[in-house]
C-alpha cells in the first residue's frame, strides 16, 4: 500500500473510530455544533438562562425601582442604556428581568404539554384500534377551538391565590393548549414502533406493557419529541407575550416583554424605545429558539444519522492524503 507505519496506525485509529459507533446523542451533538445558526441560537439561549438566573442582583436597577427625576427619557449612556418608562423605571433592567417570565413559560408550558401529550399519545398509540380512533377524534375536536379563547377560558377556571400562582396558571393554560401536537406525534411513533421486531422480542421474554412503553417505545420516540418540544417553545413564548400584550397575562409590577410593549406602544411617537427594546427581546428570543429547534431537527433526523462523524473522518483522511501528496511533490 505504500503507507508508512505511522500512517497505517492513523488509518487504523480512524477506522476504529468509525467502527466503535457513537450513540445517537453524541452524533446529534456533533451535528448540532456544525450548524452555525443553531450554535448561535444555543449561545443566545445560554445568555437568556444566565440573565434569568442573575435577574435579582446583576441588573443596575430592580424592575420596580422608580427614578422620578428621569421619566420617559430615551437611551442614555451610562445610567439608562435602554431609557426609562413613564415611572422612571429602567427599561434595560426590566427587559433583563423579563427573561425570567419568558423562560419560565417555556419550561412550564413545555412540561405541561409534554406530560399531557405523552400520556395521551402513549395510551392512544399503544392500545390502538377503536380506542385510538376515539381518542384522536377528541383531539380533532380540541383543534376546533380558537387557541387564545381556550387559554383564557382555562385561565379563568384555574384558581389562583396570589400573583405568582396566577402567573404559573397562565403558563399551564398555555401548555394545556399545546398538548395535542405532542399527543399526535407520540401516538404516530408508537403506532409504527410497536410493530417493530424489538418490541416483539420484548414481548417474547415476557416484558409487561409498562416496561415495553417505558423502556422500548418512549426512549425511541424521544428524538422527535425533543425536536417538537424545542420547536414549540417559540409558540409558547409568543402566546405569553400576546396574552400580556392584551392585558391578560402576567400582572403589572412583574415585567413581561409583551406587557412592556403594550405599555409602551400608546406613546409610540414620543418614546419608541419603550416598545422597541422589549419587542427586540421577544423577536431575538424566538429567533434563537427557532434556529436551535431547526438545528436539533436536522441533527436528530434518523435518516441522516452517523453521517456527520463519517464525513468528519473522511475529510480528515482527505486532508491527510493531500498533505502527503504535497509532501511527495516537494
Amino acid at each position: 500500500m505504500g503507507l508508512s507505519a505511522s500512517e497505517r496506525a492513523k488509518r487504523h485509529e480512524e477506522e476504529q473510530f468509525l467502527e466503535r459507533g457513537v450513540s445517537l446523542w453524541q452524533d446529534a451533538w456533533h451535528r448540532l455544533l456544525r450548524n452555525r445558526m443553531a450554535v448561535a441560537g444555543l449561545i443566545f439561549v445560554g445568555i437568556l438562562v444566565f440573565c434569568a438566573l442573575t435577574a435579582d442582583f446583576l441588573p443596575p436597577y430592580s424592575y420596580r425601582e422608580a427614578d422620578y427625576e428621569n421619566t420617559r427619557i430615551g437611551p442614555r449612556w451610562p445610567d439608562h442604556i435602554f431609557g426609562t418608562d413613564k415611572l422612571g423605571r429602567d427599561v434595560f433592567s426590566r427587559v433583563w428581568w423579563g427573561t425570567r417570565v419568558s423562560l419560565t413559560v417555556a419550561i412550564v408550558g413545555s412540561l405541561t404539554s409534554l406530560i399531557i401529550g405523552v400520556t395521551y399519545g402513549s395510551i392512544s398509540g399503544y392500545i390502538g384500534g377503536r380506542v385510538d380512533n376515539l381518542m384522536m377524534r377528541f383531539v380533532d375536536v380540541m383543534y376546533g377551538f380558537p387557541t387564545l379563547l381556550f387559554i383564557i377560558l382555562i385561565m379563568v377556571v384555574l384558581p389562583s391565590e396570589n400573583a405568582i400562582q396566577g402567573m404559573i396558571n397562565i403558563f399551564i393554560a398555555i401548555g394545556v393548549v399545546g398538548w395535542m401536537g405532542m399527543a399526535r406525534l407520540i401516538r404516530g411513533q408508537f403506532l409504527s414502533l410497536r410493530e417493530k421486531e424489538f418490541v416483539l422480542a420484548a414481548k417474547m421474554v415476557g416484558a409487561s406493557h409498562a416496561r415495553i412503553i417505558a423502556r422500548h417505545l418512549l426512549p425511541n420516540s424521544l428524538g422527535p419529541a425533543i425536536v417538537s418540544l424545542t420547536l414549540g417553545i417559540p409558540g409558547l413564548i409568543l402566546t405569553e407575550a400576546t396574552l400580556s400584550f392584551i392585558g391578560l397575562g402576567v400582572p403589572p409590577p412583574i415585567p413581561s416583554w409583551g406587557q412592556m410593549v403594550s405599555e409602551g406602544w400608546r406613546g409610540l411617537r414620543a418614546t419608541p424605545h419603550l416598545t422597541i427594546f422589549p419587542g427586540l427581546a421577544i423577536t431575538l428570543t424566538m429567533l434563537a429558539f427557532n434556529f436551535l429547534g431547526d438545528g436539533l431537527r436536522d441533527a436528530l433526523d434518523p435518516t441522516m444519522r452517523g453521517t456527520a462523524l463519517v464525513r468528519a473522518a473522511r475529510r480528515k483522511r482527505r486532508k491527510a492524503r493531500r498533505a502527503a501528496a504535497r509532501a511527495a511533490k516537494a
Binding site: R137, D140, V141, Y143, G144, F145, P146, L148, L149, I152, L153, V156, V157, P234, L238, A241, T242, F245, I246, L248, V261, W265, L268, R269, P272, T275, I276, G279, I282, T283, M286, L287, N290, F291, D294
Partner: protein, 377 residues
C-alpha cells in the same frame, strides 16, 4: 369523490355539536357570570341579578338552556342577545345586523321625511321577501314597501363590505394572498438555489418572519411608515387602499415565511425524485420541470397548512385588528370571554369552528386536484 365529500360533511356535524356542548359546559364551570358586576364594575344586587338571569333564561337547567339556544340557532339562525351589551344581538355584532332594514329605511325617509323615524317593520324584512309591511310604533299599518332587486343587491353589497365578519375576512384574504404570492416563489427559488447565498438570505428572512410576533411587526411598521415617514395611515379599513398595506403585511408575514420554508423543504424532497430526473432526461425545459412537475407535488404540505391558517385568519386576527383599529370580529374572541358574554362566546367559537371545518374540507378536495393518487375511500 361525492361520497367522500358527503361523508366528510356529515362527520363534521357531530364535531360541531360536540364543540357547542363542550363550550356550553366550560361556561358553566367558569366562575362568575355576565351579571356578577355591572358596567361600572360594581357588584349587582342579587335580586336584580336573579331577574336578569330569568330574563335571558339563564335560571333554567343547563340542558334546557342548551336546547333553547340550539333550537333558535338552527331554525332562525339566531345567535341570541348579547348578555353584556343591552339591546344588541350577537347577530348584529358579528354580522352587522339586517342591512336590508337600513336600505328600506332610507326609502322610507325619502318618502315620509321625518315621520319615517316613528315607523318600523311588522317583521324583519329578508331579501327573499317581495315586500315588507311598514307599521307605526303603535302597530298601526302604514304601507307595504316593495323590495326591488336593487335593494337586495345594495343590502348584500353592504353586508360584504361593512359586516364585521366580512371586514375580518377581507383582512384575512388579502393577507393569505400576500403570503402565498410571496411565500411559494421564495420557497421555490431557495430550493433551486440550495446552499447559495440566495438560499441563505431567503431562509434567514423567512426565519425572521416566523420569529417576529405580528403585533410587534405591526407596531414597528406603524412607527416607520406612519409616524416617521408619514406615508400610510395608522388605522382604519375600507376607505383607502393605503389602509390595506400595513395590516396585510403584518398578518401575512408570519404565514409567508412559514409557507416559504415549507415549500423549500418539500421542493428539495421532490426535486430529487426519479420522475424529475426522467423529465429532465427527456429534455424538458427547466421551467416546465419546475413549474409543472415539481411544484405541483411540493404544494401538498402547503395545502395542508392552508386550511387551519385560512380559518384562523379569515375569522379575524384580533391583534392586527386591535393594533390598526379595524372593526372586525377579532376583538370579540377576547372581550367575549373576559366579559362572560356567553352568547357572544358561542357565536365566535361557532364561526371559527365552522370556518375551520369548511376550509379543511376544501383542503381535502384540493388534494384530489393536486395529486390524483390521493384516493378518497
Amino acid at each position: 369523490m361525492q361520497r367522500f365529500i358527503l361523508r366528510r360533511i356529515l362527520w363534521n356535524i357531530p364535531v360541531l355539536i360536540l364543540i357547542t356542548v363542550v363550550t356550553f359546559g366550560m361556561m358553566q364551570i367558569v366562575p362568575g357570570g355576565p351579571f356578577t358586576a355591572g358596567s361600572s364594575g360594581r357588584p349587582i344586587p342579587p335580586e336584580i341579578r336573579a331577574n336578569m338571569m330569568a330574563k335571558y333564561g339563564l335560571d333554567k337547567p343547563v340542558w334546557q338552556q342548551y336546547l333553547n339556544y340550539m333550537g333558535r340557532l338552527i331554525l332562525h339562525f339566531d345567535f341570541g342577545p348579547s348578555l353584556r351589551r343591552p339591546g344588541r344581538t350577537v347577530n348584529q355584532m358579528l354580522f352587522g345586523g339586517n342591512f336590508l332594514v337600513d336600505v328600506l329605511r332610507e326609502h322610507l325617509r325619502d318618502e315620509f321625511g321625518t315621520a319615517a323615524s316613528s315607523m318600523t317593520f311588522a317583521e324583519p324584512p329578508s331579501i327573499f321577501d317581495s315586500k315588507a309591511l311598514v307599521v307605526k310604533t303603535n302597530g298601526e299599518p302604514v304601507a307595504y314597501i316593495y323590495i326591488t332587486w336593487r335593494d337586495r343587491f345594495e343590502a348584500v353589497k353592504r353586508f360584504l363590505t361593512l359586516a364585521p365578519v366580512m371586514v375580518s375576512a377581507q383582512v384575512g384574504l388579502v393577507s393569505v394572498t400576500l403570503a402565498l404570492l410571496i411565500g411559494i416563489p421564495l420557497g421555490i427559488i431557495s430550493a433551486l438555489k440550495q446552499n447559495t447565498w440566495i438560499d441563505y438570505v431567503a431562509m434567514f428572512i423567512s426565519m425572521l418572519g416566523v420569529s417576529i410576533p405580528n403585533f410587534i411587526l405591526g407596531i414597528v411598521l406603524i412607527l416607520v411608515f406612519a409616524l416617521w415617514l408619514g406615508w400610510l395611515p395608522t388605522y382604519g379599513w375600507g376607505e383607502s387602499w393605503k389602509q390595506v398595506i400595513m395590516p396585510a403585511i403584518t398578518l401575512g408575514t408570519g404565514g409567508m415565511a412559514f409557507i416559504a420554508r415549507l415549500t423549500r423543504a418539500s421542493m428539495l424532497e421532490v426535486i430529487r425524485a426519479d420522475y424529475i430526473r426522467t423529465a429532465r432526461a427527456k429534455g424538458l425545459a427547466e421551467r416546465v420541470v419546475v413549474l409543472r412537475h415539481a411544484l405541483k407535488n411540493s404544494l401538498i404540505p402547503v395545502t395542508t397548512v392552508l386550511g387551519p391558517m385560512m380559518a384562523a385568519w379569515l375569522t379575524g386576527s384580533f391583534l392586527v385588528e386591535w393594533v390598526f383599529s379595524i372593526g372586525g370580529i377579532g376583538k370579540f374572541f377576547v372581550s367575549a370571554v373576559t366579559d362572560r358574554d356567553y352568547t357572544l362566546i358561542m357565536g365566535t367559537i361557532l364561526i371559527y369552528s365552522v370556518a375551520l371545518v369548511l376550509f379543511n374540507l376544501a383542503v381535502d378536495i384540493a388534494y384530489g386536484f393536486i395529486d390524483p393518487r390521493i384516493r378518497f375511500d
